[in-house]
Amino acid sequence: MIDQPEQFTFDFYNETARIDAGSGDDLKLTLGEFAGPLDLLLFLIKQEQANIFDIPISRIAGEYLRYIRLMKEMDIALAADFIVMAATLIEIKSKMLLPREITAEDGEELVDPRKELVDRLLEYEKFKSAAEMLYERTTIEQAVFTRGRIESDENNAEINASVFNILSVFQKILSRHKEEVMMEIHREEISLADMLKTLRKRIFDDLELDLADLFEEMHNKRELVTAFMAVLEIVRTESVKLIQKTTFGSIILRSQRNPQ
């Protein structure tokens, strides 16, 4: 295949934010990766079977805040956007409580304090539907293939790079230069069990492992903690010793097993 463009699939229905309400405060929460406050609001409106053009703001705001609190309790990192929305809801709610003043012109309708929010929700829903349309299109396109590589492909191809490639490549050089590890956004969390497995293999293969090297390889705090726990565990359960040859010198994990 000549640069068969990467094909995309998307599991539309499993990735949306889902909040399973159990009985009372016992809620299970599955937030889609980057679902935002508008998603949460739409979800709550649907759940309350409310009319989007006449949102029972007090009830929805209450529910919204309950979910926010819950997410905080569950230690889910809350985007600032969620808090901003909470403030907006409270503001709308308080405006709704004010007595409705009569406007200068008789009969002219008052601007509903909810209007701006409703407009935003409607606008956002359109793009959600558009995303779904794109998903369907790309699904169809996945059944289409282009020709295999032919001879002329070898001596061809325009400069197959965009400005962004240039920037991105430059950025990589810089970070390589500074010996910085660029944090990947979707790094998979490594479990303690996996870490232990890796660690065991390395120690028993190499017999020694410099702890500083090991920790250097970790990409974030969480991995560091996992690595640290793995070290403690392996020292406790295996014939492995922690050795420091000189004060302030590097700490070495050494296998006490006899090399085969």
């Binding site: 990766e33 409607l122 539907s129 558009a130 282009t146 962004f164």
Partner: protein
């Protein structure tokens, strides 16, 4: 190029060029290479397309991303996939698809404008879309902070099977779906 080509020879030449081009080839390019006018090229492309359709070929000729391309017919995707051992891959997240939808309809559009619509930061989605070349930068917006603007790429058209951006359904059409 010689002008004395008959229709069949022109269609055949067009077919050969559409085949060798590794991306969709524009009718204009075909005209330039073959020294033929726009009408002849378009007629040849139409003829070629219906020829593939009528003989129930495993392939078809189609217009996409401002050009013409030969691809397999969707009916045979099972067989092709089995042979190439490809699986549909590389998931786009909901965030990426939503962000892509906003960019497709609002381009050129800046990160703050996308935030305004989605109500949530879209930075990592934009990065993914750039890496997959579905979007491209479109210069800075001449406004406070000169934010970068983004738009969809040619790869976007190809990936989503579009001739051009006007083929996207109007965003207002989605309103009806909502309520």
């Amino acid at each position: 190029m010689e002008q004395s080509r008959n229709t069949a020879a022109l269609i055949a030449a067009v077919e050969a060029l559409v085949f060798v081009s590794d991306e969709p080839i524009a009718a204009k390019t075909l005209g330039e290479v073959l020294g033929e006018d726009k009408e002849s090229i378009e007629a040849a492309l139409e003829a070629l397309m219906s020829e593939y359709d009528t003989r129930e070929s495993g392939l078809r000729v189609r217009e996409i991303a401002g050009g013409w391309q030969i691809t397999t017919r969707t009916e045979y995707h099972d067989e092709v996939r089995q042979f190439l051992k490809t699986r549909p891959s590389a998931k786009l997240s909901l965030a990426s698809l939503e962000t892509l939808a906003v960019i497709a309809y609002k381009q050129p559009v800046t990160v703050p404008e996308i935030l305004e619509i989605r109500g949530v930061q879209s930075a990592s989605a934009i990065k993914t879309l750039l890496e997959k070349r579905l979007i491209v930068t479109k210069g800075h917006k001449e406004t406070v902070g000169r934010p970068m603007q983004y738009g969809t790429s040619k790869d976007f058209l190809i990936q989503f099977g579009l001739k051009d951006l006007t083929e996207l359904p109007s965003i207002e059409d989605f309103e009806d779906l909502i309520q």
